[in-house]
Amino acid sequence: MTITAGKKKEKLDRLAELAGRDDERGVSLWKEAFRRLRRNPAAIIGAVILAIFVLVALIGPFLVPYSPTDTIGIREGLIRPGTIPGADGDHWLGYDHQGRDEFSRLIVGARQTLLVGVVSTLIGLAVGAVIGGVAGAAAGLGGRWGRAIDNALMRVIDMMLALPSLLLAVSIAALLGASLTTVMIAVGVVSVPVFARLLRGSMISQANSDYVLAATSLGVKKPKIALSHVVPNSLAPVIVQATLTLATAIIEAAALSFLGLGNPDTAVPEWGVMLADAQQYLGIRPGLAIYPAVAIIITALGFTLLGEAMREALDPKLRK
């Protein structure tokens, strides 16, 4: 009797020890994901691109050789109708159509582009997460009334999805009048339904999990379960989507500028506006369009690479 009990105890001790060791190694979803992210070359490339982009946006304006608003070319009589001079020794990428140094504008433009991308994504994320979070909590925990709330909210989201995104953005821009804030709101609103659906879906799939059952049986209030248990566990796909949306936000903002609904204040350079302005001079100096376009593509690529790598790293199917 005592022998078997001792053996049993030994066994339990060993199990506990194993479990403890497992804990020490850190099995948290985020730690594990970060470890895998570091091993993914695509993630590293994306992160490096973004680090350079953010660095340029932050300190670039202090380092540029010329003022981005100084019309040097016109002052020196270099810009005549039909000619825009290209690169020379001092002006690495030549001048833009108003005789301003293109390289300086490109560098300074990074800041505005980053601002538009981040703010509009945050707008979409905030509004979408509130709608999706309420709908998800109501659907997962709220009984019949909850389902009704969820249904009503999702019909609104469906309506937004049924409208072509650019049309939605264009009509918002028309409603608010052309300005930088308008661009951010218009681009942000377009991504609201995506975030809302994603968070809702993710929360509903969490609602049946054991930890919700455990919290319910311990008598935790439903709003508290939703806010402090379900939402944090449902955020991973939303964060991945936000990274990917940063890329599309920059591209959508460029599309709005192309349609003439961008920031009317052209003194502050922004890549989308620069690209849109350059369309008129494609025949004379295609470079004016190519430089900002390549800058937009590389930045969008950085966000997309990092976002996709995060999606892979957080995918539970790929976890060991």
């Binding site: 409208l163 409603l175 890329a247």
Partner: protein, 334 residues
């Protein structure tokens, strides 16, 4: 199946009702009305008021909306305030162009995307795989209008292979029946007109196809990779089916479901992209017209066009849902 279709169509009604009410109120909040677009800045307040009265814009908004709904039931969407023609006939004249453009883009995206995604998955980790994954990443990141300009500059202005604008060479005296230029050409046996219309579709179609193509390649690739690991594929191989049969009937067919879903969701994005490509190629579709309508505060056109687009979007996604049961017999729609 029949009940499923009827229920989905009935669900459409409250959605459209809500959408139209929201749009109605929202559009009327746009600063400046059609009277400003017609009169410019010079109109006197009396002239403005007269125009607003003649359009019924001086009545309470719910009265206006009630009138709109009564007409809508008779499928009458009203008259454009800027062109003075009925919204329905404006739509029928322009929508075929946009449909031709989006269908071309979809054909390119599906025709190239599914085989490419499939091959990339089969040759995972090899050159073709890296090229298609890399290419699709860039495809997502290129602004559509920029790609449209690049294609136009290279293949039309420099090489002269394709026309740079319009839907058809104006010197061709083509008969119009449906306003689908390609279809009209085939129906009237005016083969040169049909061929010319197709020729005009290539470059804008390619530009518009970039994003859907990239998405379809990625989804097909991921889906095929997942199906390749399924037990039934191993079973099919083990029971001695030829590789060809396994690939076609087991792998490809089972991996199509997520691809078809994505095609339905891409429709909205395609219509957005169409606005941009139509602008670059001066292509007569609904894109430029809607854009003008916003600037002109042409409420009837905006309401009508946006509602029809929403209906089209919902119908396309209904078709997508129905096609599930064709692709996968396990899916039964109820």
């Amino acid at each position: 199946m029949f009940r499923f279709i009827v229920r989905r169509l009935l669900q459409l009604i409250p959605t459209l009702f809500g959408l139209s009410l929201l749009l109605f109120i929202w559009l009327r909040r746009l600063p400046g009305g059609p009277e400003t677009a017609i009169l410019g800045e010079r109109g006197t307040p009396e002239m403005r008021a007269a125009i607003r009265r003649s359009m019924g814009l001086d009545e309470p908004i719910l009265v206006q909306y009630g009138r709109f709904v009564r007409r809508l039931i008779r499928l009458d969407l009203g008259t454009s305030t800027s062109t003075k023609r009925s919204v329905v006939s404006e739509f029928l004249e322009r929508f075929p162009g946009t449909v031709e453009l989006t269908v071309t883009a979809l054909v390119i995206a599906i025709g190239v995307g599914i085989p490419l995604g499939y091959l990339a998955a089969r040759r995972r980790g090899r050159l073709l795989d890296h090229l298609s994954v890399g290419g699709s990443l860039i495809g997502i990141c290129i602004p559509v209008f920029f790609l449209a300009y690049v294609l136009k500059a290279i293949f039309s202005e420099n090489l002269g292979w394709f026309p740079s604008s319009g839907r058809q060479d104006p010197t061709i005296d083509a008969t119009r029946i449906t306003n689908f230029f390609v279809l009209d050409g085939i129906m009237t046996r005016e083969w040169d007109a049909a061929a010319d219309a197709i020729w005009h579709l290539v470059l804008p179609g390619l530009a518009l196809a970039s994003i859907p193509l990239a998405i379809i390649v990625r989804i097909t690739r991921a889906s095929v990779l997942e199906v390749l690991n399924e037990d039934f594929v191993r079973t099919a191989e083990a029971k001695g089916l030829t590789e060809r049969t396994v690939r076609r009937r087991h792998v490809l067919r089972n991996s199509l479901l997520p691809v078809v879903t994505s095609i339905g969701l891409l429709t909205g994005g395609l219509l957005s992209g169409a606005v941009l490509t139509e602008t670059v190629f001066a292509f007569t579709g609904i894109g430029a017209f809607i854009y003008d309508a916003i600037n002109q505060r042409d409420y009837p056109v905006l309401m009508g066009f946006i509602l029809i687009i929403a209906v089209v979007y919902v119908l396309v996604n209904l078709l997508v849902d129905l096609s599930y049961s064709l692709i996968d017999p396990r899916v039964r729609v109820r």
